[in-house]
């Protein structure tokens, strides 16, 4: 992996649209003076399901059954895309250069991994975001022995310092980086890390892209995930 990061890539999931990931991506783009690319991932599985006549949608709040047809799915997506464009317009003045917006169909994490370049910073939205107790939960860093762990930690520390977040580091191996992480390192396994994120709350999670946890985090973390 080279150090020539070309862009910040924010992946928004059509299943659960979250502005938070876009904001974090924009902050990172400003910090690193990188362009921002926003991906809107249309889940292809949902498209297939909507085309089957017997498939119905069960409402999350009421349990009521409603028809689940492609036109409806299209409408929902159009609304979501419009919402994302509005967010981008709000953030435009802060960005160093005009951003890019792409609509992609496919599986959420797989589609992003296919598009992402080696030097890109990836920001994944969360599907499972819960109410946050703390006003400003910490930024978390997953530090393991994968390549890019140091770079991830350094980036997270810069981001935390700039954006005024408390920073916590967790991992299965103590940080060997010269960067001091005393009092902020928690030894834990990947399952325990997810648990920690849920219990302690998190504003965002930084994880090396090469880490085995990178594939699971976007789906399990209760906050945006930045893969470095």
């Amino acid at each position: 992996m080279t150090n020539n990061s070309s862009r910040v890539l924010v992946a928004l999931n059509s299943l659960r649209l979250r502005r938070r990931a876009l904001e974090i991506g924009a902050h990172l783009a400003v910090q690193k003076h990188l362009p921002l690319t926003t991906l809107f991932i249309e889940n292809v599985e949902l498209r297939y399901a909507s085309q089957l006549p017997f498939v119905q949608e069960i409402d999350r709040l009421s349990g009521a059954l409603t028809t689940f047809e492609p036109p409806r799915l299209e409408r929902l997506h159009r609304l979501q895309i419009r919402q994302v464009r509005q967010w981008l317009a709000d953030l435009q003045s802060q960005l160093p250069s005009p951003g890019d917006f792409q609509i992609v169909q496919g599986n959420y994490t797989e589609s992003v991994m296919e598009i992402a370049g080696e030097g890109d910073f990836l920001v994944f939205s969360t599907v499972h975001e819960w109410a946050v107790i703390h006003q400003r939960p910490p930024l978390w860093v997953w530090f393991d022995d994968s390549p890019g762990a140091d770079r991830t930690l350094t980036l997270a520390m810069e981001f935390a310092s700039r954006e005024n977040y408390p920073l916590l580091v967790a991992g299965s191996h103590p940080a060997k980086s010269t960067t001091s992480t005393e009092n902020r390192f928690i030894l834990t396994e990947p399952d325990g890390f997810i648990d920690l994120l849920n219990k302690q709350g998190c504003s965002a999670v930084f994880c090396p892209r090469s880490s085995p946890l990178a594939k699971q985090l976007p789906m399990l973390a209760p906050c945006p995930v930045l893969l470095v």
Binding site: E45, Y48, A49, L52, E57, I58, H128, N198
Partner: protein
């Protein structure tokens, strides 16, 4: 001839004090006494009333103003109040069951203030303790634990269903607004429509059935989530209650122990504790509103306000029962009121805005009110009666009582009432209430009747001297010497128009003292003397007698025609009194009478012109019937007469001139002239007896002043009823003139005595033949009336003359 009256001796004209009765030089030697003159009847009633326990025995103190009613009340009630126990403190507290009806709380005297302070301290402690309990890490951890457990429960249930579906080859997908089931390929991917359509129909049907079944299971599961979330919320609430109980329990337990003997306070504290626990979320930090509104109070503060104590009546500094004198007894001041304050365009109130009224403050003691003020304040009288009858104080605004407002007002719990009310007022008011208000007698059973005057005895003179001594000291005035005291007593007799009595009206005498004090100090004296008293009296008169001077001037100059010498037929000097505020003076008025043949009608011109009042008309009717009875028993009264007060252009009232009017009439009939150097005052009855009148001193002095201005000749004087001799307290100059034989006062008991005095002829008595002797006044009158009767008879037989006569009469 009747015994002609002789002038009254000068001693009869003024009853002076006996200096031998007073053993002091100045009032500085005399001790203080209560500023109430002998009022035995009233004081006994007051004592009885304040000592009676029965609620219906409220007191009405009646009598004119200035006789010391309030002084007596305060003295009697004050002594009694000291012997009674201090009543309770009363508070209002928030009613947690029904906030519209604040509860009343009775506490031993002095405990209200302590409880109020204790609750303020508790509130201050709560302000810090409750938020602190919820800011700890432990609380956060427990909340997060509960929420995490809830999330995991739901997630686990969904995951189980997802697993179940996967085992059947069905995927559970999340959509933007919910979930959907879709069939999977063998590779574990969601089946596209093309792949699905290639499946055998029975397989498609099976997949459809499976999806339907799973949808139903998911629906059933999702419908359980609200109940699970409710359980979580309940657990959170329970957690909050436990935390709150832990944080505040010990604070409130301390207070409960302190007030354990007062059950009502303990119950209140329990209610406070429960309220805090039930509404702990109000005490937790609230998010800042996007637009902060500075006048909006936080929920925590709103709730804490409810735990305060409204100390309505504080007896902490009282000793004995309260004595309250309410000087503005309107509805709100009597009963209390509920205040409101404006908040964002509305009026809001709560139990802390309840204010005590005079009845609250006097509860357990005594309340003194001016009856006229109570009656003239809208609805105050009804309010007072209603409250006394119900024996409880129920605060209600007048607007609500009159149904003028429809907003929901507070209804504070009524407070039991035990009070003795003492009303003060004049006699007319008392008797009007007694006659017109049936409830009055049930509530005010005790009249305390204050005398306006006292008999002049050595005892009352001594008491009066001590009262003057006390007044002088109280008002920081110079002491009075013996002569001043005597003069004031004599003046007090003149004030009441009775030589044998003195007025009990201390207020007037107090003012006189002050003015005399000024006179004394002007002359550099160390004590007030008789001269100072007289100077004060003279100055007072001089300030007020401009009109009197004008009238006398008019008479002297002949603008107002009054003769003080000579004789005239059918003309006499009558006397009247003119009152201007607190100054009265007498003035002579010429009364004339004309007589002729007629039908027996005596025309009172004052009445005909509607200037004569009813009593005056009554007097004229009486004298006309006297005449009929005396002179027309066996013959018709063929008389037409008219009477008038000459040069009088205002209302005339009273019958004190009826003797003078009768003398004028008889003079006209008898054609005998009346002395113009005498003035006459007196009322006459149908039998010719002369009755007493009012203002006798002013009337005599009024004629004396005119005679003095025109020149006293020794024959002038005034004829008064004998019954008025006891009222004489004439001015010194009149008495001196009488002593010098320059002026005379005669007293008469019958009209005949007056006639003889005025006409210098015998009046005459009926002889055996029933007739009056010819050369007497009565004889001449009778003869004249007989002539009229014969004339009338003669004219009656001539119709032409009758018509002319009738026209003339009309």
């Amino acid at each position: 001839m009747t015994q002609q009256p002789t002038p009254l001796l000068p001693e009869k004209l003024y009853t002076a004090c006996d200096p031998g009765q007073f053993s002091f030089q100045t009032t500085a030697e005399l001790p203080d006494v209560p500023l109430v003159l002998e009022q035995r009847r009233a004081l006994e009633a007051l004592h009885f009333g304040v000592e009676m326990e029965d609620p219906g025995f409220n007191i009405f103190v009646l009598g004119p103003t200035g006789v010391g009613k309030l002084t007596a009340i305060l003295d009697v009630v004050g002594q009694q109040a000291k012997q009674k126990p201090t009543p309770k403190d009363w508070c209002y507290i928030h009613n947690f069951q029904d906030p519209v009806k604040p509860k009343a709380l009775a506490l031993p005297a002095g405990h209200g203030r302590q409880l109020r302070q204790d609750m303020e301290d508790l509130i201050e402690d709560l302000r810090g303790a409750i938020p602190a309990a919820f800011e700890g890490e432990e609380y956060r951890a427990r909340v997060e634990e509960l929420e995490q457990a809830a999330r995991e429960r739901e997630a686990k249930a969904i995951q189980e269903l997802r697993e179940l579906a996967r085992q059947q080859g069905i995927a559970l997908l999340e959509t933007p607004t919910g979930f959907a089931f879709a069939p999977l390929t063998h590779e574990g991917q969601v089946m596209s429509p093309e792949v699905f359509n290639q499946l055998p129909p029975e397989v498609q049907k099976k997949i459809e059935a499976q999806v339907k079944e799973l949808q139903q299971q998911l629906q059933k599961l999702l419908r359980q989530f609200p109940a699970w979330r409710k359980e979580t919320r309940e657990k959170l609430r329970q957690l909050n209650r436990e935390i709150t109980q832990y944080a505040v329990g010990h604070l409130i337990d301390d207070l409960k122990a302190r007030y354990q003997t007062i059950e009502a306070v303990v119950q209140f504290l329990k209610a406070v504790e429960q309220d805090i626990i039930d509404h702990v979320e109000d005490f937790l930090p609230q998010p800042t509103p996007p637009i902060p509104l500075p006048f909006l109070v936080s929920k925590a503060e709103e709730r804490l306000k409810r735990y305060r104590i409204n100390l309505l009546v504080d007896r902490s500094s009282d000793e004995g029962a309260p004595v309250i004198h309410e000087t503005l007894p309107n509805h709100a001041n009597l009963l209390g009121r509920i205040d409101y304050h404006a908040l964002m365009g509305t009026l809001v109130t709560d139990f802390s805005m309840i204010k005590a009224g005079a009845l609250h403050k006097a509860n357990g003691g005594y309340l003194i009110l001016d009856a006229l003020k109570v009656l003239t304040q809208p609805h105050a009288w009804d309010t007072l009666k209603r409250t006394l009858q119900s024996e409880e104080i129920k605060i209600e605004s007048l607007e609500k009582t009159l149904s003028l407002i429809s907003t929901l007002p507070l209804e504070p719990e009524p407070i039991p009432l035990n009070v003795r009310v003492i009303l003060t007022g004049d006699r007319l008011l008392y008797y009007l209430l007694e006659a017109l208000d049936p409830e009055f007698k049930d509530l005010f059973k005790i009249p305390a009747d204050f005398e306006e005057d006292l008999p002049r005895t050595p005892q009352t003179h001594h008491l009066f001297a001590r009262v003057l001594a006390t007044l002088a000291r109280k008002e920081n005035l110079l002491p009075l010497d013996k002569s001043a005291v005597m003069k004031i007593i004599e003046q007090a007799a003149r004030e009441i128009e009775d030589a044998q009595k003195i007025t009990a009206h201390l207020r007037t005498l107090t003012d006189l003292l002050k003015e005399a004090d000024y006179q004394a100090r002007r002359h550099g004296r160390q004590a007030v003397t008789r001269e100072d008293i007289q100077a004060a009296i003279d100055a007072r008169i001089y300030r007020s007698d401009r009109l009197r001077s004008k009238v006398q001037e008019f008479i002297e100059r002949g603008t107002l025609l009054i003769d003080t010498e000579g004789r005239q037929v059918g003309q006499i000097n009558g006397l009247s009194v003119i009152s201007l505020g607190d100054f009265s003076f007498g003035r002579p008025t010429r009364i004339t009478a004309t007589t002729r043949m007629g039908d027996g009608k005596i025309i009172d011109i004052e009445r005909e012109t509607e200037l004569g009042g009813k009593i005056h008309s009554k007097g004229v009717l009486i004298l006309s019937h006297f005449m009929a009875a005396r002179y027309a028993r066996v013959q018709p009264l063929s008389l037409a007469a008219s009477l008038v007060f000459e040069q009088s252009y205002g209302p005339v009232e009273g019958d004190s001139a009826s003797l003078a009017e009768l003398c004028a009439l008889l003079s006209s009939l008898a054609e005998l002239p009346l002395r113009q150097d005498l003035a006459v005052t007196g009322s006459v009855n149908q039998l010719g007896r002369v009755q007493p009148i009012g203002g006798v001193n002013e009337k005599i002095e009024g004629f004396f002043d005119i005679c003095q201005r025109k020149g006293l000749n020794g024959s002038q004087g005034v004829v008064i009823p004998k019954a008025n001799v006891q009222h004489l307290m004439l001015r010194q100059d009149v008495v001196e003139a009488a002593k010098a034989g320059q002026f005379n006062v005669y007293s008469v008991t019958t009209v005949d005595q007056a006639l003889e005095l005025l006409m210098d002829s015998p009046a005459g008595s009926r002889q055996e033949d029933g007739a009056f002797p010819e050369d007497t006044i009565n004889g001449r009158v009778e003869r004249q009336l007989q002539k009229f009767a014969e004339l009338k008879k003669r004219f009656a037989s001539s119709p032409k003359d009758n018509a002319a006569n009738k026209d003339h009469d009309e």
